[in-house]
């Protein structure tokens, strides 16, 4: 009987801890890191999403869940995440199944934001073509609503981090008129979302990147 009591107590305590940890309501908006194969460091800068979601909440009042969480493409939970984020420096490899699942995800209301943290451009372009064959990444004009929906970005995506000294570019893929994939190249806003000591970006650059990330979230939530 005592054993049962102990077990019950343990369960109770465990549940309590679990409830305390999940204090944020399930409806809160979250960003989920996409775990991909191929060798690239999909996991870098885990503080990025946390900081961005906190900023978004403070700036807009949107109910956010500022946690670092990730999902594998093969995971069934993929379809419960409205906003996927992928980044890295290296290679990406989507298997045929991965590509098919990701396509299904995007066709059914999902959104993917990819940020080239340097060296991801070629593999990303190659792999996203596998996901959405026939759809091209088109550079969004500065007048596109994403750049103006919350904060003003008259020159499009900001230049948060230097890579090759090229102008920053924001590309999109649309399905039935909806932006389903957004890709930033030579811009790297997610570096600006990371903790200040990670990349040592000036504060104004970080704030700019966070404001841009807010626009991205607002745009995805409203379109």
């Amino acid at each position: 009987m005592k054993k049962v009591q102990h077990l019950f107590l343990a369960l109770l305590i465990g549940t309590g801890v679990s409830l305390a940890q999940s204090g944020t309501p399930a409806s809160a908006f979250a960003i989920t890191r996409l775990k991909y194969a191929g060798g690239g460091d999909w996991y870098n800068d885990p503080s990025s999403e946390v900081n961005l979601l906190t900023f978004v909440h403070n700036a807009t009042g949107i109910d956010t869940d500022p946690r670092y969480q990730f999902v594998d493409i093969g995971d069934d939970a993929l379809f419960t995440h409205p906003f996927l984020f992928m980044t890295g420096h290296g290679n990406i490899a989507f298997s045929e199944t991965d590509a098919r699942r990701l396509r299904m995800y995007l066709e059914n209301g999902g959104f993917l934001y990819a940020d080239d943290d340097y060296g991801m451009d070629k593999p990303f372009r190659r792999e996203i073509r596998k996901v959405l064959p026939g759809e091209e990444l088109v550079e969004l004009p500065f007048s596109y609503g994403l750049y103006h929906c919350q904060f003003e970005f008259p020159s499009g995506v900001p230049k948060t981090h230097e890579h090759n000294g090229k102008p920053p570019q924001g590309f999109g893929i649309f399905l039935h008129g909806r932006l389903v994939v957004y890709y930033t190249y030579e811009s790297n806003p997610s570096d600006g979302w990371a903790d200040p000591d990670v990349h040592g970006d000036p504060e104004d650059k970080r704030q700019e990147a966070l404001r841009f990330g807010t626009n991205l979230v607002v745009w995805v939530l409203t379109h």
């Binding site: 460091d41 088109v138 969004l140 004009p141 230049k159 230097e162 920053p168």
Partner: protein, 1128 residues
């Protein structure tokens, strides 16, 4: 002949007379009766019309006329007719003979007599038979040639005929002239027993009365009234076939006439006029159906180049606006079957229509603006009238436009670096050609070119109307020499194949290849400005430091109050530091520009370039967040006017300021050293360039035909230039020597002096002078010989300089490594001493006298550590190998030592021991960092770990990992041998992991190389897992995937570093804002919408507006497009 025969003959001849008489009587009687009857009828009608008889009167009149007609017929026609038909008894032969005798003189009574003789049967009895015969024979003889019928009287017949004709004509005439009246009277007379209203007191004279009209014609009706004033006059009308009439009141004019206008009459219409209940005559407007265009359908086929779709205009819209060259097709449906038709153009051209029943068609190509109309002719030959005139208008195809977005100004280039062009091209329908045009406009050696050379540029896909065209223009093929100027532009042609492609050119820019002297002079200027700027900044910082010390002094004591002057001083201080910071920022920008230029012009060796980049990175770190934060806190403290807060902020600021100031000093010293390296690079580069020029000159001299004076003089001129370069080199080496003398211990001064001496001894300048002279004097052999000699001397000089460069680097590295090795040794010694002290501290009794000894020993150690720190600080002025991380570890050690001393003073053994342990750990950490840095320097061959070293080591790791991956997969089942091999591979994997971790640590201690490599921790974890799988014999597909991931990541890291190595900013830095033009509006998502807008715009333009309105329309649609884009 006997008597009987004679009688028969007479009888026959008399019977013929009677027949003729009766016939004449019938004719005459008919004419007479007709004339009389018609006259009577006319009289009766006139009477009726005038008198308007009552029913009784008309009955009498009618029956009178009937009786008259009957009587006349019976009497004047029936009687002779009956006689003729021998129904009635006519005349006897005697009577006829009497008539004949009466009319024919020669016959007289003889015929009667003869008849009587013959008729009286007893005449022979009375008279002599012979006499009778003789009389008859005479008669016969006399009458034989006489036509008895001529005795018939016809004299009255012509007269009665004329009477009849007159009566008939009168009748016709009266009926024609007064049809209403006479027909009305006749009608009433015929219907004698019906009552009729009284005769109208007025009459209508209607024009046009009845007539034929063209379908759709409007018909005016004019009514004149005779007789009484009718008052209101109306018209009643109906379409043929309708039962009911419509009514309209006629409009009277001043002249007593009444008017009405029928609207376009499309069907035959009957009408009459009436007033006061009196109805006028009935009239009919009979519609003649002319052919007309019932439906006009125009199809416009725009020229293929426009890419516009075939457009069908709305039905019956005949005005056409289309691009020149558009095919216009007409499909016409006429109101009736056609025989022929044509389209008549305003310039007299006629286009016959193809006819098929009531349909017609034609097509032609629109080449000029005109008007036209369509003429049709039906199968009866009736033509269409009043055709509509339509216009044919040409929509202008606007010329294309091109703008060069990059470069957007004249630029200096290097001879091989491609120029990145970015052109924006726009047109309304597309492009056919795009080209780059360039020509040499200025050169020291070549004549300027008259004509442009063209290079075709890639075109966007067909149908694109706006595009950004990037083009990497390789100018290496232009063989530019310094100071050559090329003028260039981009030209675009639209795809108008009808009128011929129109073109537009961009702005014309020039590119120039600066001379090496210019590049180096610019670099010198940059250096001087940077060093000057830094010295100024340092001076300012030192002055500010003094002020800060004074301020610190004034607020030192807690009792001190903060005066407003202190606040003012603090404000001034902050302002000064702000200025220093701004100055350093501008120095940073100047260094960036300088490095960029030198890097672009490839005048730096990779080693020197790397150092510059390290320097740039160091300058970036100078404006550290800590310093900014300290300034901010100081500012806040001033605002609070709190002495405590200010004091605290001052302490913090003091520390940050010192770091900042020392950074300036370090940067300045490093820049001076790098400048020397750059100068050495410059000397080497100048020598190489000079040799290249000299070799080319020698070759050209050898090739120059004997006696070609002009060419030789040209070559002599070029030789002079080489000589001038030599002089510049001499001056530059002299300057280099002066700069090296500032660092005599580090710099290879002896080598440099030696090189300069050799240059002087070889009298290279004199040799060149002599070469020029020989060339002018047309002695090419001698010139060639001396050129060879000059080349040898230059080669020797180059060797010296390269050797000096190498020695300088090795020397620097050796010195730095030695110094670091000493520091390392000292740090390790100190660590051991600290360990000893810690052990001793642990053994101390609470009341031991050795606390003091230990404290003193700790103080010595701390002093020695200070010496090591100073040594490293001094070394940091010469190398990037000493990193802030080392300083931090030493700082930690010093802090722990200080704390330990305090603890020893307080006889706190445990705390002292712990703090000494901490100090030892920090010392070991510092030593580790120094060692890592030394390893990096040795392996990378540079001053720090460097990219080269990182690359090499990553490459080695990749190779090792590749080997492990291959080997592990080739192991099939798990025999004991294979298991052993797998175990060996696991060990190897472990070594690779350790190497990677070591590399990551070194990269971290080398500053921002960490970022370059990315996060290696996951890879290290993967490696551990692979190692575990191998060891446990659980080598599975997931292990293979992990292996692949490891290798891929290692290769990617390598590639990333390699890619960065080619860039001027290899380091990870915050982004610089870039201004550029927006990408074009979306075409993929908004394609349909854009197409729709474009179609609408096209349609609007086809409406035929004036040019200025067309511009407005275009602008309007552009704005709509922009709004659409924004809304998406």
């Amino acid at each position: 002949m006997d008597t009987t025969g004679l009688y028969d003959e007479i009888h026959r001849r008399l019977a013929a007379v009677r027949r003729k008489q009766n016939t004449a009587a019938v004719i005459h009687g008919a004419a007479f009766s007709g004339a009389l009857f018609l006259t009577a009828v006319l009289l009766a009608l006139i009477g009726e019309e005038i008198i308007n008889f009552s029913v009784g009167g008309r009955t009498v009149l009618f029956w009178t006329l009937v009786l008259l007609a009957l009587a006349l017929f019976l009497w004047r026609i029936g009687r002779p007719l009956g006689r003729l038909a021998e129904i009635l008894h006519g005349e006897s032969d005697l009577e006829t003979a009497r008539d004949v005798g009466r009319r024919i003189g020669c016959v007289n009574d003889r015929l009667v007599n003869a008849l009587q003789l013959l008729a009286e049967g007893d005449a022979r009895r009375i008279y002599s038979g012979d006499l009778v015969d003789a009389a008859l024979a005479d008669l016969r003889a006399d009458c034989e040639g006489i036509d008895f019928t001529s005795a018939v009287d016809r004299a009255g017949t012509p007269l009665t005929g004329r009477l009849l004709a007159a009566a008939f004509l009168s009748c016709v005439l009266l009926f024609a002239l007064f049809p209403t009246a006479f027909f009305g009277a006749a009608d009433r007379l015929l219907h004698f027993n019906e009552a009729y209203a009284a005769a109208s007191p007025f009459r209508f004279v209607v024009e046009p009365g009845s007539r034929e009209i063209i379908k759709g014609e409007t018909v005016p009706i004019r009514v004149r009234v005779t007789g009484e004033n009718p008052g209101e006059v109306s018209i009643a009308f109906r379409r043929r076939g309708d039962l009911a009439y419509e009514e309209a009141v006629l409009r009277a004019d001043g002249a007593g006439e009444y008017h009405h206008q029928f609207p376009p009459v499309t069907e035959t219409t009957e009408y009459y006029i009436h007033a006061r209940g009196i109805r006028g005559d009935d009239y009919t407007l009979t519609v003649i159906d002319r052919p007309l265009v019932r439906q006009l359908r125009i199809t416009v086929l725009p020229p293929a180049y426009s890419g516009l779709p075939v457009r069908r205009q709305e039905d019956n819209v005949g005005d056409v606006a289309a691009l020149r060259g558009a095919a216009i097709r007409f499909d016409i449906e006429a109101s009736k079957v056609l025989k022929s038709g044509e389209i008549a153009l305003s310039d007299s051209a006629v286009l016959p229509l193809g006819i098929a029943g009531s349909r017609a068609h034609a097509a032609f190509v629109l080449m000029k603006e005109r008007s036209y109309h369509i003429s049709l002719r039906d199968s009866a030959g009736t033509g269409s009238v009043d055709p509509v005139e339509y216009t044919l208008r040409i929509i202008p195809d606007a010329p294309p436009a091109v703008t060069l977005l990059s470069p957007s100004e004249n630029l200096d280039v290097t001879d091989t670096t491609p120029v990145n062009l970015l052109a924006k091209i726009t047109d309304d329908y597309g492009f056919s050609r795009l080209r780059l045009a360039y020509k040499l406009v200025q050169s020291k050696y070549e004549k300027p070119e008259q004509e442009f050379t063209y290079v075709p540029l890639p075109l966007p896909p067909s149908g694109t109307i706006e595009a950004l065209i990037p083009y990497r223009w390789s100018i290496a093929g232009l063989h530019l020499v310094p100071e050559d100027v090329i003028s260039f532009y981009v030209e675009v042609f639209d795809n108008d194949v009808i009128s011929g492609p129109k073109s537009a050119i961009s702005e014309i820019y020039s590119l120039r290849l600066p001379s090496m002297d210019e590049v180096f002079a610019q670099a010198d200027k940059g250096h001087e400005a940077s060093i000057g700027g830094m010295q100024d900044a340092l001076k300012q910082a030192q002055e500010a430091r003094k002020e800060m010390e004074e301020l610190t002094q004034s607020v030192r004591s807690p009792a001190d109050k903060l005066e407003w002057q202190d606040r003012r001083k603090a404000e001034d201080l902050l302002k000064k530091y702000g200025e220093v910071k701004a100055k350093m920022d501008s120095v940073r920008a100047a260094v960036d520009r300088m490095v960029d230029d030198m890097s672009k012009n490839r005048v730096l060796s990779p080693e020197t370039l790397e150092k510059y980049q390290e320097l740039q990175h160091m300058m970036d770190q100078m404006s550290s967040p800590e310093f900014a934060e300290a300034m901010k806190q100081l500012q806040q403290a001033m605002q609070q006017m709190s002495p405590d807060a200010l004091r605290q902020a001052m302490q913090q600021f003091n520390f940050s300021e010192e770091t900042f100031r020392k950074s300036i000093e370090r940067t300045l010293n490093l820049l001076k050293r790098i400048q020397i390296e750059q100068k050495v690079d410059e000397a080497v580069r100048r020598t190489e360039q000079m040799m290249k020029q000299q070799e080319a000159l020698k070759e050209n001299t050898g090739k120059t035909p004997a006696g070609d004076r002009d060419r030789m003089e040209q070559l002599a001129k070029e030789q002079k230039e080489v000589q001038e370069h030599l002089q510049s080199l001499g001056a530059q080496m002299e300057e280099l020597q002066k700069k090296m003398e500032d660092f005599p211990a580090e710099m290879p001064l002896a080598e440099l002096k030696h090189a300069r001496q050799e240059m002087a001894q070889d009298s290279l300048a004199r040799t060149m002078e002599s070469i020029s002279r020989d060339m002018v004097q047309m002695q090419p052999e001698e010139a060639s010989r001396q050129q060879q000699q000059a080349l040898a001397s230059m080669g020797k000089l180059g060797e010296h300089l390269r050797s000096m460069q190498k020695e300088m680097r090795q020397n620097q590295q050796r010195q730095v490594l030695n110094a670091m090795r000493r520091s390392l040794r000292d740090l390790l010694d100190l660590s051991k001493r600290e360990e000893t002290l810690k052990d001793e501290s642990e053994r101390l009794e609470p009341n031991s006298r050795r606390f003091r000894d230990n404290e003193e020993a700790q103080m010595d150690a701390m002093r020695d550590l200070g010496t090591v720190a100073e040594g490293l600080a001094a070394l940091s002025q010469r190398t990037f190998g000493v990193t802030p991380e080392m300083g931090k570890s030493i700082g930690d050690a010093m802090r722990s030592m200080n704390d330990a001393m305090r603890s020893l003073q307080q006889r706190n053994r445990a705390a002292a021991s712990q703090q000494q342990t901490d100090a030892m750990a920090s010392l070991n950490e510092a030593a580790q960092k120094v060692e890592d840095s030394m390893n990096g320097m040795q392996q990378g061959g540079g001053q720090g770990m460097g990219l080269a070293g990182l690359m090499q080591r990553l490459q080695r790791l990749s190779q090792q990992q590749g080997g492990i991956n291959d080997a592990s997969r080739n192991l099939g089942g798990m025999t004991p041998e294979q298991a052993a091999e797998m175990s060996r591979l696991a060990g190897e994997q472990g070594m690779v992991r350790k190497s990677l971790e070591q590399l990551a640590r070194e990269a971290a201690s080398a500053g921002d190389l960490k970022k370059l490599m990315g996060d290696m921790s996951q890879i290290a974890r993967d490696m551990t897992e692979v190692q575990t799988d191998m060891t446990s014999g659980n080598f599975n597909p997931e292990t293979v995937r992990k292996e692949d991931r490891i290798l891929s990541r290692l290769l990617d890291a390598q590639r990333s570093t390699r890619e960065r190595d080619f860039e001027k900013k290899r380091t990870s830095t915050a982004g610089q804002d870039v201004t550029r033009e927006s990408p074009p509006s979306l075409t993929l998502t908004a394609g349909q919408e854009k197409d729709r807008l474009r179609r609408d715009m096209q349609k609007a333009l086809e409406e035929g507006y004036a040019r200025e309105y067309e511009d407005l329309i275009r602008r309007y649609f552009e704005i709509l497009e922009q709004l659409e884009s924004q809304n998406r």
